[in-house]
C-alpha cells in the first residue's frame, strides 16, 4: 500500500511538476542551510536531509504535491540535543522519530487531527512564521550596515522582480536575489559572513552510515525526550500542510499514509546523515503556485537539490548570509496567516484566545507541540462551556395535585451539572416531583451523580420523585452508574455530604 500510487499522480502533470520542482529545489537550498544553522549542525546535514526526505516522501507520502524536507519547526526542537550530545545523537534521534511516526501511522493517529481546530492550526502557522523570523535575528545583530543593506536589497528583489515584464514570471525571484547578492558581495569584496563560514557543505553524494552511538538504554534515555516531540511536531505540521494542499487543489489525501511516509523519510534521513524533517507549509504553497501537483514535483525538487548542491558547492559557499536571511524572511512572511489578523475583529473571542495562546506558548517555549497542546485544551474547554449554555430546565406547578414538573432540555455533563442542580427548588413544599428527561442527554458520571443528588434531596424533603422519559442514551448511563434506585446506596452518597 505504501508504495502504491496512481499513474496520474506521477505523470498527470509532467510539465508543471518538473518546472515547479526546479523552483522548489532552488528555494529549498537556502532553507535547508538556514535550518541547519538553527539546529547548530553543518549545512550538509540539512541539505542531505532535505534531499532524502523529499525523495522518499515523493514515493511513500500520502499527499501528492506536498514538499517535505528539513524544517524550522523540527530544527528548533533539536538545538539542545546537538549542543549537549553532538551530531551522532541527533541522527539516532532522527531514526527513533521515524520509527515513532510509522507506529503512529499504523495506529491511525492521523485521525486525531480532527481534535486540532482551525484556530489552533492558524496559531501553529503564525507561531512557526514568528520562530523562523526570530531565527534570522542573530544574523542581523552586531553586524555592519552592509548586511542590512544587502538584506533589504534582497527583499526588494524578491518582491519586486516578479513585476518585471516577461522574465519576471519565468525566473524564481529568490534565485535572482541570491545570485545578485552573491555577485555584489564578490564584486565589492565585502567582508560579510557567507554560507561557507557556517560549516561544511556536501561535496559528495550522501553515504549510508549507522549513527555512532552505543545501543544502550542510556542512549534511548537521551534521545527519547527529543524524538517524541519531534515525531509529534513532524506529524502535526505535515498533516496541517496536507490539509492546506487539500484545500488549495481540491483533492483528498491519505493522512495515515502521510504519517508512515514521514516516518520512513526520517529513517532514511537518519541513515544518510541528515536531520529530522517534515512537510513545509511555505514550500508546498510555492510548489502549488508554480504549477506542481503530482509526486513528480517532490521527486524533482529533492533530486535537483542534491545535484545542484554537490556540483555547485564552491559557489554555494560564497552566498552571503544576508541573501539567505532575505529568503527566510520571505518564507516567514509567506507562512504567516495574514487573514488571521484581519479576522481577529470578526471572530468570537474564544477563537481568538485559542489562536493567540497557541502562538504565545510556542514563541515562549520554542516547542510547537506545547503550543498545540495548550490550543487543543483551551479549544475543548471553550467548547464544553459553549455546549453547557444549551441546557436549561423549565418547570410548572400543578397546584391541585401539589405536583411540580421539571423538564430538562439539552446536554448535561460535568460542566452543566451544577446548572442542572441549581434549577431545582428544593425548598418548595410539594407532594410529588416529576423530572422529565425526554429532551435531555446525560453524558458522564458527574451528570448522573447530579441527578441522583437531586432525587435524594427531594425524597428527604418528603416528596415522591418520578423520573420519566430517559431516552436510551441516558438510560444506559444511568443504569450503569445510577444509584438512586438502590436504597442501600443512598446512605453512602449522602453520608459523605
Amino acid at each position: 500500500m505504501l508504495f502504491l500510487s496512481k499513474k496520474q499522480d506521477w505523470l498527470g502533470n509532467v510539465r508543471g511538476d518538473v518546472l515547479a520542482g526546479l523552483v522548489v529545489a532552488l528555494a529549498l537550498i537556502p532553507e535547508a542551510i538556514a535550518f541547519s544553522i538553527i539546529a547548530g549542525v553543518d549545512p550538509k546535514v540539512g541539505l542531505y536531509a532535505s534531499f532524502c526526505i523529499a525523495v522518499i516522501t515523493a514515493f511513500v507520502g500520502g499527499r501528492p504535491g506536498m514538499i517535505s524536507a528539513a524544517t524550522g519547526a523540527m530544527a528548533l526542537l533539536m538545538v539542545t540535543l546537538v549542543k549537549d550530545h553532538g551530531l551522532q545523537y541527533l541522527l539516532a534521534a532522527t531514526l527513533l522519530t521515524g520509527v515513532l511516526q510509522i507506529i503512529a501511522g499504523y495506529l491511525k493517529l492521523g485521525s486525531l487531527m480532527s481534535f486540532v481546530s482551525r484556530s489552533v492550526v492558524t496559531g501553529f502557522v503564525n507561531a512557526l512564521a514568528i520562530l523562523i523570523f526570530m531565527a534570522q535575528l542573530p544574523e542581523l545583530t552586531n553586524v555592519t550596515w552592509h548586511v542590512y543593506a544587502m538584506t533589504a536589497g534582497g527583499l526588494g528583489i524578491i518582491y519586486l522582480f516578479p513585476y518585471l515584464p516577461v522574465i519576471g514570471k519565468s525566473l524564481p525571484s529568490p534565485l535572482v536575489c541570491i545570485v545578485t547578492l552573491t555577485g555584489v558581495a564578490i564584486y565589492l569584496n565585502l567582508d560579510i559572513r557567507t554560507v561557507g563560514d557556517m560549516g561544511e557543505l556536501p561535496d559528495t553524494l550522501p553515504v549510508f552510515l549507522w549513527p555512532e552511538v552505543p545501543l544502550t538504554l542510556e542512549t534511548l534515555k537521551i534521545i527519547a525526550p527529543y524524538s517524541i516531540p519531534l515525531a509529534v511536531v513532524g506529524m502535526l505540521e505535515s498533516l496541517m500542510t496536507a490539509t492546506i494542499i487539500d484545500d488549495l487543489t481540491d483533492t483528498p489525501s491519505d493522512k495515515n499514509r502521510e504519517c508512515k511516509g514521514q516516518g520512513l523519510a526520517n529513517i532514511g534521513a537518519g541513515l544518510l546523515g541528515g536531520m529530522a524533517g517534515c512537510a513545509m507549509i511555505g514550500q508546498s504553497v510555492i510548489n502549488i503556485k508554480s504549477g506542481g501537483r503530482g509526486r513528480l514535483s517532490t521527486l524533482i525538487a529533492g533530486s535537483f537539490l542534491l545535484i545542484m548542491v554537490v556540483f555547485l558547492d564552491e559557489w554555494i559557499s560564497k552566498i552571503p548570509m544576508a541573501a539567505l536571511v532575505s529568503v527566510m524572511i520571505m518564507v516567514s512572511i509567506g507562512t504567516f496567516s495574514w487573514s488571521s489578523i484581519v479576522n481577529l475583529k470578526q471572530y468570537p473571542i474564544s477563537t481568538n484566545i485559542v489562536m493567540l495562546a497557541t502562538v504565545i506558548v510556542v514563541v515562549w517555549t520554542h516547542n510547537l507541540a506545547f503550543g498545540v497542546f495548550v490550543g487543543v485544551l483551551l479549544a475543548s474547554l471553550f467548547f464544553a462551556n459553549k455546549i453547557s449554555h444549551f441546557m436549561y430546565v423549565e418547570s410548572e406547578l400543578d397546584e391541585a395535585n401539589s405536583t411540580r414538573t421539571y423538564r430538562a432540555i439539552g446536554q448535561i455533563f460535568f460542566n452543566s451539572s451544577g446548572k442542572f442542580i441549581a434549577a431545582f427548588d428544593f425548598k418548595e413544599a410539594v407532594d410529588k416531583v416529576v423530572i422529565d428527561l425526554h429532551r435531555a442527554h446525560f453524558w458522564d458520571i458527574t451528570s448522573v451523580t447530579a441527578l441522583d443528588k437531586a432525587v435524594i434531596k427531594f425524597r428527604r424533603e418528603g416528596a415522591d420523585v418520578e423520573v420519566i422519559g430517559m431516552n436510551e442514551a441516558t438510560a444506559t448511563i444511568v443504569d450503569r452508574f445510577g444509584i438512586h434506585d438502590k436504597p442501600e446506596e443512598i446512605e453512602k452518597v449522602m453520608g459523605g455530604h
Binding site: 508543471g16 515547479a20 511555505g282 512572511i333 495574514w338
Partner: protein, 289 residues
C-alpha cells in the same frame, strides 16, 4: 426504489459515438423494459495544474490569494463544462425520446468517469458506453484510455459501442467453456433482451478434439429457456481473428462474451483476449462480468 436499481445507463460525452450509445441504450431499455438514464461526467483532472507562476516567492496572504485564484479559474472552467454537458444531455434526451423512451433520466456528475461509475454501480443493469471518448475520437485503432479500468471495476453487463446503431438481428456468443462463459450463457438465456434473435454459439478450439456435442447442452439451454434460435459452430485457430472473420461472414450484429476473467498480471504478460477483441471487432461487444 426497484426502478432505481435496474437502469440502463448510457455514458454521453459528446463524441461521435454518443449518438450510437443513445440508440443502443434505447434499444436495450425497450427490450428489457427498464428505465433509461443518461450520464455525463465532468472530469476536472485535478492532477493537472491550470495556472503556473514560477516567480517562486510568497508574501503576506499569498496562501489565501492562491486559493482565491485557483478557485476562480476552476469555477470558470467548470461552469463552461457544466453548460456544455447540459446541452449534450438535452440532445441525448431528445434522441432517446424520439426512439420511444418515455421518461429518460439524465444525470451530471463531477469527478473521474471510473469513480462515478463505481459509485453508481448498484443502480446499473446494463452500462452502454462508446469504445473511445473525445480524446481518441479520430483514432479508430485506439480504445478509450479508461475503458479497461471501467470494465475491470464494474461487475455489471457493459455494452461497448463502436459504430452507428443497427438493431441487432444476429448475435454471436463467444463460448470457451470457462466459468465466465457459462455465466454469460446463463445470463443470455434468462434475459428478455435476446428473445427472437438468432444466436451463433461459437467455440474456438486450439486442437481438433472438440466436437459439436460439447455445445449441444448449451444450445439446448438457450433454446429452451430463452426462446432463442441457436446455430452452433466450432472453429480451429486463433480466437480473436477467427471470431472477427466469422462475424463478418455471417453478418453478426453484436458479440456477447465474458470479460477480463484473468488477473491483471496474467494479462500484462500474455495479453488479454478481451482487449484484443475490443481492438479488432467492428461490432458492438456486450461484455458480461
Amino acid at each position: 426504489m426497484t426502478t432505481d436499481t435496474n437502469r440502463v445507463l448510457a455514458c454521453i460525452d459528446g463524441s461521435i459515438l454518443s449518438e450510437a450509445v443513445c440508440d443502443y441504450a434505447a434499444w436495450i431499455a425497450q427490450r428489457v423494459d427498464a428505465p433509461l438514464k443518461l450520464l455525463h461526467v465532468i472530469d476536472h483532472h485535478p492532477e493537472t495544474a491550470a495556472t503556473m507562476d514560477l516567480s517562486g516567492n510568497i508574501g503576506l496572504g499569498s496562501q489565501e490569494q492562491l486559493l482565491e485564484e485557483l478557485t476562480a479559474v476552476e469555477q470558470q472552467r467548470s461552469k463552461l463544462r457544466l453548460q456544455q454537458g447540459k446541452l449534450l444531455l438535452q440532445a441525448a434526451k431528445d434522441r432517446v425520446i424520439q426512439a420511444g423512451i418515455a421518461n429518460p433520466d439524465s444525470n451530471q456528475r463531477h469527478g473521474s468517469l471510473v469513480e462515478s461509475l463505481i459509485e453508481l454501480e448498484e443502480s446499473i443493469r446494463v452500462l452502454v458506453i462508446g469504445i473511445r471518448g473525445k480524446v481518441h475520437e479520430n483514432q479508430p485503432d485506439k480504445i478509450g484510455a479508461k475503458l479497461e479500468s471501467i470494465i475491470r471495476s464494474l461487475h455489471k453487463p457493459i455494452l461497448v459501442v463502436n459504430e452507428a446503431f443497427k438493431a441487432p438481428q444476429r448475435i454471436m456468443i463467444a463460448y470457451d467453456g470457462s466459468e465466465a462463459a457459462e455465466k454469460a450463457v446463463n445470463m443470455v438465456a434468462n434475459s428478455p433482451l435476446y428473445k427472437g434473435l438468432t444466436c451463433h454459439l461459437v467455440y474456438v478450439s486450439k486442437d481438433a478434439t472438440a466436437t459439436e456435442q460439447l455445445l449441444q447442452p448449451v444450445a439446448d439451454k438457450l433454446t429452451n429457456a430463452g426462446g432463442i434460435e441457436v446455430i452452433s459452430k466450432i472453429l480451429l485457430g486463433k480466437p480473436d481473428q477467427l471470431l472477427c472473420e466469422y462475424q463478418d461472414k455471417h453478418a453478426i450484429d453484436m458479440v456477447v462474451m465474458g470479460a477480463f476473467s484473468h488477473t491483471r498480471l496474467h494479462d500484462l504478460l500474455l495479453g488479454s483476449f478481451t482487449a484484443k477483441m475490443l481492438t479488432t471487432t467492428k461490432k458492438p461487444l456486450l461484455l458480461l462480468r
